[in-house]
């Protein structure tokens, strides 16, 4: 499976009467997008669209998802299969990317869990989305909508808007083309007979409301671990429905741009043979956890792998999924590297993980999510600032009267992503 990603570098975003890309400037037709979203879902009472750019004194809260606008220009299927496009297998042909732009969804809080994006100040250094040109959708559902549906309405609106905006890149000549290719296993091994075989075990959050992930439209809690070509997720085959403790929940943007996949491709064919991705879930019963980790270890063995990188999504009981995968894969004689964040307390003195094992001897830490950060007041707040008092990582009184917010890092969207998206790390002192 071979995919060309054509990156169109977006330098600025403006409102306009037509959605298009002109000389690297993304024009967005606000009214047309609002109308399309309202027309497609009667459960939406109101959609507002704002722009938030790097350096702006703008705070977005509570953030639910971030999505990169992409469009499929050749090859099978379309973006976000199972939601926006039919469930064709994606990941081949050519996809254009509006690099530097992002669709961010906010609106009334669904649970306790959504995050914060600050475009400047102390908080901006922790979230990758302070560096993107954000088209922010504030979505308010109709009264009395059950929470599961409320989450769905906002998720679909974000995907629809991203697909509409992505269309603007269809006929634009990309500034850069990157090619990613993964061969079927036998061909791949034939091509690199002497290289060790490596795969990526991709744990997907699947604990329930605001903790779900979708694969080709299927709720990941209902899957058995399975195999994927790495390029499939670049076309939006994996969609986020979660933002609990927003620091370590992968927004859809991150599934489209999974850095472990990118960096494994980087040395593919030189230091190892990167044969593909095993996706698995993080369910809420012990039997599910045992079954999924057994299945994952079985796939690892069957594919004849020498080493894997495993990352979790979230913390607490998903630590057990991570450790079970590590233990069972290690028992097959396969080498492992884990990526996780830590919950070591505000003073850094507590136990970092809920579950541990001695086989976990190669771990990358993407930071302690309990540390306190002070977010200065902003000139403009998109969404609902009072959510800071109840979101995970926030606490009663987190929002001061001057508009500043004191929260744990865990409240900041994508600050400790366990796919290693950022440079944050932690070490022992």
């Amino acid at each position: 499976m071979k995919l060309e990603l054509g990156n169109i570098f977006i330098k600025d975003v403006v409102f306009s009467d037509e959605t298009k890309v002109v000389n690297g400037v993304l024009h967005v037709n606000k009214e047309a997008i609002q109308k399309a979203l309202m027309d497609s879902d009667p459960r939406l009472a109101k959609v507002d669209i704002d722009l938030a750019k790097p350096g702006d004194e703008v705070r977005i809260i509570p953030v639910k998802d971030v999505i990169e606008p992409r469009v499929k220009v050749s090859g099978e299927g379309g973006v976000f299969p199972g939601f926006i496009s039919k469930v064709n297998t994606v990941g081949t042909g050519r996809t254009h990317v509006l690099k530097g732009a992002a669709v961010v969804t906010t609106g009334a809080i669904v649970g306790f869990q959504e995050g914060i994006i600050d475009m400047s100040g102390e908080g901006a250094q922790y979230t990758p989305f302070s560096k993107t040109l954000n088209i922010v959708l504030t979505c308010e559902p109709v009264e009395g909508l059950p929470r599961h549906e409320h989450e769905e309405v906002v998720r679909l609106a974000g995907l629809r808007a991203a697909a509409m905006i992505g269309e603007a890149g269809r006929n634009v000549e990309p500034d850069e083309i990157k090619t990613y290719e993964t061969l079927p296993l036998f061909e791949s091994v034939k091509k690199y007979p002497d290289l060790p075989r490596v795969a990526y075990v991709y744990q997907l959050q699947s604990q329930g409301l605001l903790h779900d992930t979708y694969v080709y439209g299927v709720d990941a809690k209902k899957i058995l671990p399975t195999f994927m070509y790495p390029t499939e997720t670049m076309d939006g085959a994996i969609v986020s429905g979660n933002c609990v403790s927003a620091c370590d929940k992968n927004p859809t943007y991150v599934h489209e741009n999974n850095p472990i996949i990118e960096d494994l491709y980087e040395r593919h064919g030189k230091d190892y043979n990167f044969v593909g991705v095993i996706i698995t879930n993080e369910n809420v019963t012990l039997a599910d956890k045992e079954r999924s980790s057994n299945y994952t270890a079985k796939l690892v063995e069957y594919l004849g792998l020498d080493a894997v990188i495993i990352n979790e999504e979230g913390f607490g009981n998903p630590d057990t999924d991570l450790i079970m995968n590590c233990k069972k894969i290690s028992e097959k004689g396969v080498k492992t590297v884990l990526v996780t964040d830590e919950y070591a307390g505000r003073d850094g003195q507590s136990q970092s993980l809920a579950d541990v094992d001695k086989t976990a001897d190669a771990v990358v830490s993407v930071g302690n999510a309990n540390v306190i950060v002070h977010l200065p007041p902003m000139k403009k707040v998109i969404g609902h600032p009072e959510a800071a008092n109840v979101i995970a990582g926030g606490f009663d009184g987190a929002l001061s009267s001057d508009g500043s917010i004191t929260v744990e890092l865990q409240a900041i969207t994508a600050s400790t992503l366990e796919v290693g998206f950022g440079n944050l790390a932690a070490k022992g002192y």
């Binding site: 604990q207 329930g208 809420v284 019963t285 012990l286 607490g316 009981n317 057990t320 579950d355």
Partner: protein
């Protein structure tokens, strides 16, 4: 938390879905629960059956509290 209760000499049974975490945090008497969002229930069951299930788990927990043990022990009810 469970460890501190036991350390204080209070026999404590931990009803917990993810038994490995319970073991890691040092619980001694462990009774597996149903699922994380509903450890002592199952929304798929009719109300009476669900309560009977809850009673079954609690009864096992009471048994655990009355059992002398030497090391971490899981009391299964399934």
């Amino acid at each position: 938390m469970v460890k501190e209760l036991e350390r204080a000499g209070l026999p404590t049974v931990h009803i917990c879905t993810i038994v490995p975490i319970s073991k890691t945090v040092g619980a001694n008497r462990i009774v597996p629960a149903v699922a994380i969002p509903h450890p002592l229930g199952n929304p798929a069951l009719p109300k009476e059956e669900e309560k009977a299930l809850r009673r079954k788990i609690i009864t096992k927990a009471l048994e655990a509290l009355q059992t002398d043990i030497q090391s971490q022990t899981v009391f299964e009810w399934q």
